[in-house]
């Protein structure tokens, strides 16, 4: 392996690491939402680790750009790495927000059951793990699954938000919990969006084609 290939491998490993940390934060956030409150100390520790790795990735990429002048697939990998790290860091932050917000939802379990949120939360967990998988395997079929999952999550979230708002309109007591739940729904939706963005960067890495603003139908075709 050349010195340059070792540098690329190092970068890949940091992304795998930051990705798995963000995934663990998402798993914790789903747990916090669906079952018990989560110990804040561990979550904070992981958040700090993610932030440090995010900076580390920027530094490694900067150094590769300056010293190795990458081209073709190497160039695409490093460009994607910088974007992916940014998206992963956002996923981590959103998961922490879900954990914090879940604490202040009264009658959480009843509301979750009523608006069928458990299934949606599990799908967000799934899309996060699929995203890490697709970076590792660069598998086109997994990228496609992520696009479809994101669409499903978005639709389910919109339906749930619609129902929560209807509930708040008819029962003023539900407004505080309902609002918190809507915010959580939006956070979950955003996590799913960031996963989709990562899948788009992986697609760019593999195929040299930028699809980030394409319509869902066009992406599926890809």
């Amino acid at each position: 392996m050349t010195h340059f290939e070792i540098e690329l491998e190092k970068l890949k490993n940091i992304i795998i690491k930051i990705g798995s940390l963000a995934e663990s934060q998402v798993v914790e956030s789903v747990k916090a939402l669906l079952s018990e409150p989560i110990e804040g100390k561990e979550v904070k520790k992981t958040e700090n680790k993610i932030d440090k790795l995010d900076v580390k990735i920027d530094e490694v990429c900067q150094s590769i750009f300056a010293l190795q002048q990458p081209v073709a697939s190497d160039l695409r990998f490093i460009m994607a790495a910088m974007q992916i790290s940014n998206e992963i860091e956002r996923i981590g932050d959103l998961a922490v927000s879900v954990i914090k917000r879940s604490k202040s939802i009264k009658d959480k379990h009843d509301l979750i059951a009523k608006f069928e949120i458990a299934d949606l939360a599990k799908q967000v967990e799934l899309i996060t793990s699929k995203t890490n998988e697709c970076f590792l395997t660069r598998d086109e079929a997994t990228i496609g699954e992520i696009f479809v999952l994101n669409k499903t999550i978005k639709n389910k979230s919109e339906d749930a938000i619609h129902d929560i708002i209807a509930e708040m309109k008819s029962h003023s007591k539900a407004v505080v919990s309902g609002t918190n739940l809507v915010i959580v729904m939006k956070h979950l939706e955003r996590i799913s969006e960031h996963c989709t963005n990562i899948a788009e960067y992986v697609h760019f890495m593999v195929n040299a084609k930028i699809i980030k603003h394409d319509k869902f139908e066009d992406k599926k075709e890809e």
Binding site: P70, V71, D74, L75, R76
Partner: protein, 252 residues
């Protein structure tokens, strides 16, 4: 490619029994820079020298196929090789000024082409040196020996000497490989400016130089043209795996 200056059809070159270029077909566009890249011995310099028939000087060389410049096959037996070389200038890896004054280096070509008037020669010398971005550095010492110039200045002087005989095409064989980064940057900037008026073909081992200076890149390997395309495409997403391996340094 819409505006083709040079069209190469099935060009093969043999050094005795050895086939050094294998059925090369490509089109070189007018007023663009085309870079030829590839590992040592891949045939890129041999190909470059085919464009002004410099390989004619090597014994046992046989060439088949066609090299059409403006639609005329320069290997046709009725073509005058001196006329071809007038229209196709060449700059080499090592600067090779004549051991004469700066002025004489530039005026030499026009003089042997029959230009005698001092005013006309003065004008050609100034225009050529300006085009080669060296006028300001030498205008006050045109009578000094060209051998006293720095390597980078000598190379730009050689480019000016090439321009003085008004060629259409400029061939450059690793023109900056022996120069420091500042002189290299001047040569690259010059190449960029000259393409407005000339069709330039440049052989380089420096990938970044090919990427920075050229509009099109052709990758040669073992005497074959593996891939030719827009430089932007070659350096971001080459079609062929061999090209990708070469430009990313994973060759062999």
């Amino acid at each position: 490619m819409k505006d083709t200056k040079i069209q190469v059809k099935d060009l093969s070159l043999y050094y005795g029994e050895k086939k050094a270029l294998k059925e090369i077909s490509l089109e070189i566009p007018r007023n663009k820079v085309t870079a030829l890249i590839g590992p040592s011995g891949c045939g890129k310099s041999t190909f470059l020298r085919c464009i002004n028939r410099m390989n004619d000087l090597i014994p046992d060389v046989k060439i088949t196929g066609q090299m059409l410049v403006e639609g005329v096959d320069i290997y046709d037996k009725n073509v005058d090789v001196v006329n071809i070389r007038k229209k196709i200038g060449m700059v080499f890896q090592k600067s090779n000024p004549f051991p004469k004054s700066i002025y004489e280096n530039i005026a030499y070509g026009p003089k042997i082409n029959g230009i005698k008037g001092k005013n006309e020669l003065d004008e050609i010398v100034e225009i050529s040196l300006r085009q080669a971005a060296i006028w300001d550095e030498v205008k006050d010492r045109l009578g000094d020996s060209a051998m006293g110039l720095s390597g980078g200045q000598q190379q730009r002087l050689c480019i000016a000497r090439t321009l003085a005989v008004s060629p259409d095409i400029i061939l450059m064989d690793e023109p900056a490989s022996a120069l420091d980064p500042i002189s290299t940057s001047k040569i690259e900037e010059l190449v960029h400016e000259l393409k407005e008026q000339y069709t330039i073909i440049i052989v380089t081992h420096n990938m970044q130089q090919a990427a920075r200076t050229s509009d099109f890149t052709a990758f040669f390997y073992l005497g074959e043209l593996i891939e030719m395309g827009k430089t932007n495409a070659i350096f971001t997403k080459p079609e062929k795996k061999q090209t990708e391996d070469y430009i990313t340094g994973r060759f062999g």
